[in-house]
Symmetry: C2
Subunit: 370 residues, 2 copies
């Protein structure tokens, strides 16, 4: 799909539909982007929310065009890629801001190395798609999406450290402590985690109660009773052999914290942004929790079955860890994966066709190759 | 000063003054605490804000009794000690909560080791005292004070790591990576930082706009353009010899970020909690910034002149670092210290006698022995 194709199509339907949806500012920008005026009014590019970059605006317009209500649909993978580009651009802008605020160059370079290395951007995608169930503009959701991705990226830096998983390779590139050094990696992780909360506290124009609820949710999910706690349980198994004989319940606790807490949180943040009703929020949280555990089980299966060249990281690294494969065998893991997928689908019943992208995300998670 | 002494005194003046100040709930609790009823109504202990522990309530009542408006004064050191006890108790309660929420025992133990090891609690003290300029109840300020102390404690864990300053001793006890191991120390630091934002987002009953402003302020101060950035500059000097010839301006930038950003933030949080006018907030931020740099210079002087036994950590550890002593000599450092103290005093002019404790804090910072 090229930008030109949208250009040809836009004057017919897209802009009119945006106007009908009350998104007049975006419609004007769409016209402006599509028609490529030789001499655009510079203030125009600064007038839509926080978006300051022309390139990011284009992506945003294209992404909004894929909203089913605009009458133009796009495949799951295209939509996932668009979100990834949008979030990458937002993250880059946030890190530019950190440099401008006076952070040391070395630190910003390490933060960029860890953050702008591509990746699926699954958590941001889930946040944006969950929020869009409630018609939250992609632009607003993208800032919160960048915040949760910052937390994910920090966790990868620290997990890769020699004292932790000791990985040299991440997404096919040297890990931060390899590209820089250990102390820079520790500090870059600390700085990304802190930045996530600065972003959530500042960047989303929905009113302080919504922002504060997002801060609380992200802190709970990322903290000692969430992601960090899960990483601790994982390393207790790996380094200390504790518990001596982990059972399926222990593995379930570990997975719910280590991986699923943040994926669940992505859906929770989308629901908070969308000011969902309590029962809707609960359904989306459960969806995220099931999807998150499925993601980890699929990851563990990939580790057993996948090849390092496809995965971009060393396969079979995790063989000593407490996984469902190790505890109950590959058969049990695959069975559990199917159960979780069915549970996740069931959570979406109340949202009708609008949740089709979230349904596709389940298949994507269960069947992915890396 | 014993609890009994307050008991004898309270029926005469303290409770009546509390009532006159409109603090009727606290006055009732004070009566109850003082009279030690054999069979207190249990719900009574749960009715004042977030305070759930009888021991903490007692401290709170005693602390409020030292409010000059209650007509009972207390020396600076006593007041500092009371705050330290109050914050220690609040931190302990918060970490109990983390355990109850499902965090792994090992992680909670490491977090407790790092957090409940005593210390001056200077940042919480400054926050509480700044907030009290605007009559913020100590109880409300204590939660925010605990949050900033969590950030300070996390920074100490990570700074002490082998890849960073490689310290074995902190406040006279083994550092976290010595008492546990490196991976536990990294995760405990991560968890404390995350908890600080959870606490700020949840625990202070002043309305979401105030809480959100505090989250933003703490994240800015602790992040890449604040404390973490300062630590990066410090290690660039120490490990990489960069810049090759640091000048006084470089040292000033480093100190403003590494140490002063968080001390300044303590005063900013107090002003935000107190809903200070912008010019009042600016004055208190400048006070905090000056005090923070003075604190670091005094620390560097102690490192040159102090003894390990008094300081509870290895002295002269920092000899290779970029300090004002190293750049301009001890004479310049002492001169700068006097200037900063005078600047800090000047910032307090508008607050009259109410700011006497903050004035004492300057002398305490400049003249301290550890």
């Amino acid at each position: 799909m090229s930008f030109c194709r949208l250009g040809a199509w836009s004057t017919h339907a897209f802009v009119r539909r945006l106007l009908r949806l009350g998104r007049s500012m975006l419609a004007s920008i769409a016209c402006s982007v599509v028609h490529e005026p030789a001499n655009p009014r510079p203030d125009f590019w600064y007038s839509y929310g926080n978006v300051k970059k022309r390139a990011e605006l284009r992506r945003l317009v294209l992404f909004e065009a894929t909203n089913p209500e605009c009458g133009w649909s796009m495949g799951f993978n295209q939509r996932l890629n668009f979100t990834a580009q949008l979030v990458e651009s937002r993250l880059s802008g946030l890190l530019d801001g950190v440099g401008r605020a006076g952070a040391p160059e070395r630190l910003v370079a390490a933060m960029r190395h860890a953050t702008l290395a591509g990746g699926k951007r699954l958590r941001p995608f889930l946040l944006i798609e969950t929020a869009s169930l409630f018609d939250v503009p992609t632009e607003s959701a993208a800032t919160a999406a960048a915040a949760i991705e910052l937390v994910h990226c920090y966790s990868l830096i620290h997990d890769d450290l020699p004292a932790m998983d000791n990985d040299d390779l991440r997404r096919g590139r040297p890990t931060v402590h390899k590209a820089f050094d250990e102390w820079t990696a520790i500090l870059a992780g600390d700085a990304l985690l802190t930045l996530a909360f600065e972003v959530l506290a500042g960047g989303v124009p929905t009113g302080p109660a919504v922002n504060l609820a997002m801060v609380a949710s992200l802190a709970r999910a990322a903290g000692a009773a969430g992601m960090v706690g899960g990483q601790c349980l994982d390393l207790e198994a790996d380094k200390l052999g504790l518990p001596p004989r982990p059972d399926a319940a222990h593995v379930a606790r570990l997975q719910a914290m280590k991986t699923a807490a943040l994926i669940r949180c992505a859906c929770e943040l989308g629901a908070i942004l969308g000011q969902a009703r309590p029962e809707e929020q609960r359904a989306l949280e459960t969806y995220g929790a099931r999807l998150g555990v499925a993601f980890q089980i699929a990851d563990d299966l990939l580790d057993v079955e996948g090849a390092a060249t496809v995965m971009g990281k060393a396969a079979r690294k995790d063989a000593a860890k407490a996984t469902l494969n190790a505890v109950g065998g590959i058969g049990l893991a695959k069975e559990r994966l199917a159960e979780l997928a069915a549970d996740a689908v069931a959570c979406l019943a109340r949202f009708g066709d609008k949740a089709d992208v979230l349904r596709d995300a389940i298949a994507f998670t269960v069947e992915r190759e890396r």
